[in-house]
Symmetry: C2
Subunit: 88 residues, 2 copies
């Protein structure tokens, strides 16, 4: 191997613009992630047709971060209940 | 109560622009979410100083969506292992 790191390079299209994503995940995963972001942006756009792309993208990021935090809380609660069971 | 729904309305600042967020979460939660998005955008900006706000926000959304999916997999694995234990 001549490369120290084998990063994946994937081009995805979101709202008719191309983005080059470099990362450790495989290409199909990156494309799935991008399609979910594109879908969420379309939903938010349908509810707020007057928003420009930057605002739309920021609101999409906020929305996704909110989902992430709520899931993180659920995850922590689940871990907590497992520990409680183990202690009994 | 005269309102059918009591939605929270919060103004947050992300990269020097204000956004009005309407939702069911309380104001402090919305502000936490916004500060995490702002922080992630700043990190991505530092790695890619030439990106405009829209691209920066899209990449932030992609990044967060990726974290969300990975956590969702962890969550499903954990649920799976709990069920397996209960079956034994």
């Amino acid at each position: 191997m001549t490369h120290k790191q084998d990063k994946t390079r994937v081009t995805v299209e979101i709202r008719n613009r191309s983005y080059n994503i470099v990362g450790d995940e495989d290409a199909s995963h990156v494309k799935l992630v991008a399609s979910l972001v594109d879908q969420k942006m379309r939903e938010i756009h349908e509810m707020n047709p007057s928003l420009d792309t930057a605002s739309l993208a920021v609101l999409t990021a906020i929305n996704t971060m909110n989902d992430y935090l709520l899931l993180k809380e659920d995850y922590a609660t689940l871990i907590g209940s497992i520990k409680k069971k183990e202690d009994n």
